[in-house]
């Protein structure tokens, strides 16, 4: 299987503070890769680095093409959708407008509008609130909106930053079920950052463990899940 995204020796810094010290990982086409680690390990920074939202050094290759240094909006237009931490909802705009913005970069306008209806089918709760101001939605609904907005791009690669954060378990299961469905049906590759290791390892097929900006372990999700150290430190048993 070919790699959709290949990252080699990625370093990243906020001003003078270096956060990533040369990490390497890859995602296969149609695969789901999880990046695990404690708070401050550099998980969010990794996603931001892929989108050039933070100063970086190293190689980032998307579909055979080097993308480091490209403007964020140009990387997005290559098919990379990013659900940021905090969700990045356009709080003053309506749910519908948020979704339309998700499809802004697409040339096929008619198909884009059809996709909006598809999102409402996937997440009926959003459909009920389609004209409501997005800032008035609950946390879970905003997360659904964030994922839908990203999917509106018909991305090749979906970057998800802590999709379970602050959500009730039932809702989280619903969202992750939908993610699995999208991955299978639309062949959307995913890079998933999660503090909730158990959840992530259930969804992903590969995983990397980050500690203070370095990869300390990598392998298939099954391997990682069965590792004693990981179980003790990150899975709690």
């Amino acid at each position: 299987m070919t790699a959709l995204l290949e990252v080699k020796n990625l370093e990243a810094a906020y001003g003078q503070t270096k956060v990533l010290h040369g990490i390497s990982f890859s995602i296969e086409v149609g695969g789901i890769t999880a990046i695990l680690g404690a708070n401050g390990a550099g998980k969010t920074t990794t996603l931001r680095a892929v989108c050039n939202m933070v100063a970086t050094k190293g190689e980032i290759v998307l579909g055979g093409k080097r993308i480091e240094g490209l403007a964020t909006e140009d990387i997005v237009r290559l098919g990379v959708a990013h659900t940021p931490d905090g969700r990045g909802t356009f709080v003053q705009l309506s749910v519908d407008e948020n979704l339309r913005l998700g499809g802004y970069a697409r040339a096929d306008k008619a198909a884009m509008l059809a996709d909006i209806d598809r999102m409402y089918a996937l997440f009926p709760r959003l459909g009920e609130r389609r004209w409501q101001q997005a800032g008035t939605l609950s946390g879970g609904e905003q997360q659904m909106l964030a994922v839908s907005r990203a999917l509106m791009l018909r991305p090749k690669l979906l970057l998800l930053d802590e999709p379970s954060f602050g959500l009730a378990p039932l809702l989280v299961r619903e969202i992750f079920r939908t993610l699995r469905q999208i991955n299978k049906e639309d062949k959307v590759s995913m890079l998933l950052v999660e503090q909730n290791a158990a959840l992530a390892l259930d969804l992903a097929d590969h995983a990397y463990l980050l500690e203070t900006g370095r990869v300390v372990m990598s392998g298939t999700a099954a391997e990682i899940k069965n590792d004693d150290n990981v179980r003790r430190s990150y899975l709690g048993y």
Binding site: C51, M53, A71, T72, E73, V76, R77, A81, H82, P84, G88, T89, F90, V91, Q92, L93, E97, R100, L101, G102, Y104, A105, R149, L153
Partner: protein
């Protein structure tokens, strides 16, 4: 009673001009948190361009449209080349650059077309249609202003580009994440503001006559209107413009005479900033320590 009604209606007409200027100011403020001190001089310069074209024999409305188009492009250019490089600098730096623009436009107008006062034609017929209530030009100004406001509303609410501009102003980071080219949206915002300013200038010039210092007082009213309505609220700015226009006329006719009108604008500005900085309809900003 007739006289009072006339003052109110005439106030609405000039209020339309203040609303346009205020709207231009708010558009730039919303996306950049900057107040364009040079807005008035840019509008004046656009008006001179229209005047020059009319002098060469061009029909009024063609000159009007061309002047608006030139202003649109000019506004975009100014944002790209002069404002964008300093957009992350200190407030003082940005304010100084705006004042520099003010000075340059004022000087260029005087250079190209001298300081002698010129007559700017009104496109509306001379013969009064509405009797003593309101002159044709005032009515026409009101009409043009309303058309512009409606067009802008439709643009921002129903077109993808308008949606992208609103998004870029509200949340630039998330906008990038959906592929919106935020810096071009900012430039377009400047272009639109310049275009609106040009329209305001061309509507007011027949009344106050065209000279390089024509827009100074009007800019002040624009500030007062924008602040009164809420500097981050476009509809507040528009409403503020109409309120200030009527207030100016009524106070001028019945309370303080016509000579202290600018002081009224000053008082409104200082009063709003000290008593309720977010204006009538703006959002209250809480600074987190």
């Amino acid at each position: 009673m007739d006289a009072f009604l006339h003052q109110v209606v005439a106030g609405l007409a000039t209020g339309g001009i203040y609303a346009a200027v205020a709207l231009a100011l708010v558009m730039i403020y919303q996306s950049t948190h900057l107040v364009n001190f040079a807005q008035g001089e840019m509008a004046m310069f656009s008006t001179y361009i229209a005047w020059a074209m009319i002098q060469e024999g061009m029909p009024y409305w063609i000159a009007f449209v061309l002047a608006v188009a030139i202003s649109l492009v000019g506004g975009i250019a100014i944002q790209r080349f002069i404002i964008r490089p300093v957009s992350n600098a200190s407030v003082l730096t940005v304010v100084v650059v705006f004042i520099g623009l003010l000075a340059i436009f004022n000087a260029m107008a005087g250079w190209f077309w001298s300081h002698t006062i010129k007559v700017f034609p009104s496109p509306f017929p001379e013969k009064p249609v509405f009797g003593k209530l309101i002159s044709n030009h005032e009515m026409g100004t009101l009409g043009v202003t309303l058309v512009v406001l409606i067009l802008l509303y439709v643009f921002f609410k129903y077109t993808p580009l308008g949606l992208a501009m609103r998004a870029a102003a509200q949340n630039p980071i998330s906008s990038r994440l959906v592929g919106v080219r935020v810096s071009w949206m900012l430039a377009l915002g400047w272009g639109l503001a310049a275009a609106i300013g040009a329209i305001a200038g061309m509507m007011v010039a027949p009344i106050v006559y065209l000279d390089p210092n024509m827009m100074g007082g009007i800019l002040l009213y624009g500030f007062a209107s924008a602040l009164l309505g809420g500097i981050d609220n476009p509809w507040g700015a528009v409403l503020g413009g109409f309120i200030v226009g009527v207030l100016e006329n009524v106070l001028g006719a019945y309370v303080i005479g016509t000579e202290l009108k600018l002081t009224v604008a000053l008082v409104i500005i200082v009063a709003v900033l000290t008593v309720k900085p977010s204006g009538l309809f703006g959002k209250v900003i809480v600074t987190r320590v």
